[in-house]
């Protein structure tokens, strides 16, 4: 069936609400407004205000309330409108959601799902353009996934709701309108393995989330140049599928990591370090990174484009790690 990333997430939400009375959705404007990105449009009418709850602007309180509700036996889906606002809830996430199980000696369980839009590319300026998935991936006790395809946009939510621990789903805002084919029925997908989105022999382009389409476009361009690039979608940043990552890189012996976060301290750095640790002797060239420029995201289109990873930059980086010919 022809659908969009937005509709895929909505379908997953509808299915989850229909399937389990313990599931409810809460966040800013998820109800009457229909969701800042229209993801939850129609769900209030279908499931009512008890299960599709508009919250005040109180990120710390409603994320914390989601944690408490999970402790109390519910299966909350908390929507933080965008990752930018999640900074206000980080204490609840790092010190409570992630820590409660271990800190309580295994007594507590926090089956919470938190969804949020992430990323830049819409000319929203410095305060609305963050990509902090890498920060979240640093925290033990939570899981972090970034659906980059329609199937994952639909299937990761169900998988996250089955998980006994807090799962954070990062939906890149630029992906919501993207269209594609998706076939019924929709069940959960795994929250464990990276996926090869395009097989290739010469080099591995490692990426996730909103950068996947750019990586695939770059691979097409490179194919025309006779460079056969494999595109690996990490899918889950925590726990990272190191095995899948190393399997691809040891095969291609070259890698370029694409990540929309600022370069220094990006998750791309972690990926590079893990390749260093696990495949050093199999590398024919140093792993390269294509990340965002180290600047608060500017509003002007030409500046934002220049600050973000682009297909040209990925192509150039791949050329940089290939053996120089002729």
């Amino acid at each position: 069936m022809r659908t969009t990333y937005r509709e895929a997430v909505r379908a997953a939400l509808r299915q989850a609400l229909a399937a389990d009375p313990r599931v409810f959705l809460m966040g800013e404007d998820v109800g009457r407004y229909g969701g800042a990105f229209a993801v939850s449009h129609g769900l209030l009418e279908e499931f009512g205000p008890e299960r599709v709850r508009d919250t005040p602007l109180s990120e710390s309180a409603f994320v914390g309330a989601g944690i408490g509700a999970a402790l109390g036996g519910m299966r909350p889906i908390v929507e933080i409108m965008t990752v930018n606002f999640s900074l206000l809830a980080l204490d609840q996430i790092v010190n409570n959601a992630a820590a409660l199980r271990h800190m309580s000696g295994g007594q507590l369980s926090v089956p919470l799902v938190v969804r949020m839009a992430t990323g830049a590319g819409r000319q929203l300026g410095a305060q609305h353009a963050h990509s902090l998935e890498g920060w979240y991936a640093h925290v033990p006790g939570i899981k972090v996934a970034a659906p980059a395809t329609l199937a994952d946009a639909r299937g990761m939510l169900a998988a996250a709701l089955r998980d006994p621990d807090p799962v954070f789903l990062f939906e890149h805002a630029v992906l919501y309108p993207s269209e594609g084919e998706l076939d019924e029925p929709c069940g959960p997908v795994d929250l464990a393995r990276a996926a090869v989105r395009r097989p290739g022999r010469d080099v591995t382009i490692v990426t996730y989330g909103g950068s996947l389409p750019k990586a695939l476009a770059a691979a097409e361009r490179l194919a025309a140049e006779g460079v056969d690039a494999e595109v690996l979608d990490l899918r889950v940043l925590r726990p990272l599928d190191t095995t899948g990552l190393l399997a691809s890189v040891t095969r291609t012996r070259r890698a370029v990591v694409v990540d929309e976060a600022w370069r220094t301290g990006s998750f791309a750095g972690e990926v590079s370090a893990q390749i260093m640790e696990g495949a050093f002797y199999d590398l024919d060239a140093p792993v390269a990174r294509v990340c965002s420029a180290e600047v608060p995201m500017p509003y002007a289109k030409h500046l934002e484009d220049a600050a973000l990873p682009q297909v040209d930059g990925i192509v150039a980086a791949v050329r940089g790690v290939m053996p120089s010919r002729g």
């Binding site: 407004y33 508009d54 309180a61 206000l88 300026g125 305060q127 600047v295 002007a300």
Partner: protein, 323 residues
């Protein structure tokens, strides 16, 4: 300045905001302005009335819905339109866009796009004035939705505790995006929350610019006298959608129409007419004058240069940044 001049002045300021934003919306549909665009139309009396009570030495902190505050403060319309265009001649060199207007020369400390995050900044600006024994006060605009954020609470307590000169102006337009006041505030009587901090709270009809001016003069004077911060709730309404993306499913056309009966420009014009202070000719003249200013701003923005991509990371750190 006599009553007529003053009245015309207020009308002109509100009209400048109205026409500037109508043009901005037009440019948005043409794709010349991008990103988020939050229109202030309907709320002009709050910005214009409040600015009457502020002096050059006062600092201003606003939100992402700050076109009106910037214009009323006197930031040149050319620089604002150029900012919406993303040009280097913009008030923020095109780095900020609609949500991030700045003009340090006029102590306009900017538009903040994280709801509630401007309040602590205003508290700090007031602390700097107090510590340096300067006369200025800090005026901080925010919406009813921001009242639910922890920073509202922390900032009012801190300002009150330290007796800081902050004028907290809550623009209560009854909605936080699509969430009505009664669905985000357990006690919707916002100005009464001042009591929790032992400061004075006032409410005013935000559609009546003269009422706003009077209340703000009173409040600002008290803050200036060293009575500590004051919280003023201006009851107003947003005539347009929250942003250009908002389908407005959460309110009825009828409700919007009812409020438009109290259009702040209409309310003032009627008042002036009653007093025989406004003639049709005056209105026509104002319209022409403001239309010309807006056209000039667009021409300026169109002609303005782009920031060079080579300068992308300039201004991330200051000149001679140590290290």
């Amino acid at each position: 300045m006599n009553a007529r001049e003053h009245g015309l002045q207020l009308l002109r300021e509100m009209l400048r905001i109205r026409r500037f934003e109508e043009k901005a919306a037009e440019c948005y549909s043409l794709g010349k302005v991008r990103g988020f665009l939050h229109l202030y139309i309907g709320e002009e009396a709050v910005a214009v009335g409040t600015m009457q009570a502020l002096a050059a030495e006062d600092a201003i902190v606003s939100t992402y819905r700050e076109h009106g505050h910037a214009l009323a403060r006197g930031v040149p319309m050319n620089a604002l339109m150029a900012e919406l265009y993303g040009k280097a001649s913009g008030c923020s060199r095109g780095h900020g866009g609609s949500m991030h207007f700045f003009d340090v020369g006029r102590r306009f400390y900017g538009g903040y796009a994280i709801v509630g995050s401007g309040l602590p900044i205003a508290v700090g600006l007031a602390l700097a004035d107090q510590l340096q024994k300067r006369p200025g006060i800090a005026a901080c605009f925010f919406g009813d939705g921001a009242v639910a954020e922890g920073e509202f609470h922390e900032s009012l307590n801190l300002a009150a505790l330290w007796n800081l000169p902050v004028l907290f102006v809550c623009e209560n337009n009854l909605y936080a995006m699509g969430t009505a006041l009664l669905r985000h505030q357990a006690n919707p009587d916002i100005h009464r929350k001042a009591e929790a901090y032992g400061i004075s709270g006032l409410a005013v009809d935000g559609m009546d610019v003269l009422a706003v001016e009077e209340t703000m003069r009173e409040a600002a004077a008290a803050v200036r006298r060293g009575n500590g911060p004051c919280l003023v709730e201006a009851r107003t309404y947003r005539f347009r959608a929250h942003s250009m993306a908002d389908p407005e499913l959460y309110r009825s056309k009828a409700e919007v129409e009812r409020w438009k009966q109290r259009d702040p420009l209409g309310v003032l014009a009627a008042r002036l007419r009653e007093g025989g202070l406004l003639a049709d000719a005056d209105l026509a003249a104002l319209d022409r004058e403001v239309a010309a200013e807006v056209e000039a701003a667009v021409a300026f923005a169109e002609a303005a240069p782009w920031e060079a991509v080579a300068d992308l990371t300039r201004d991330v750190y200051g000149p001679g940044a140590g290290g």
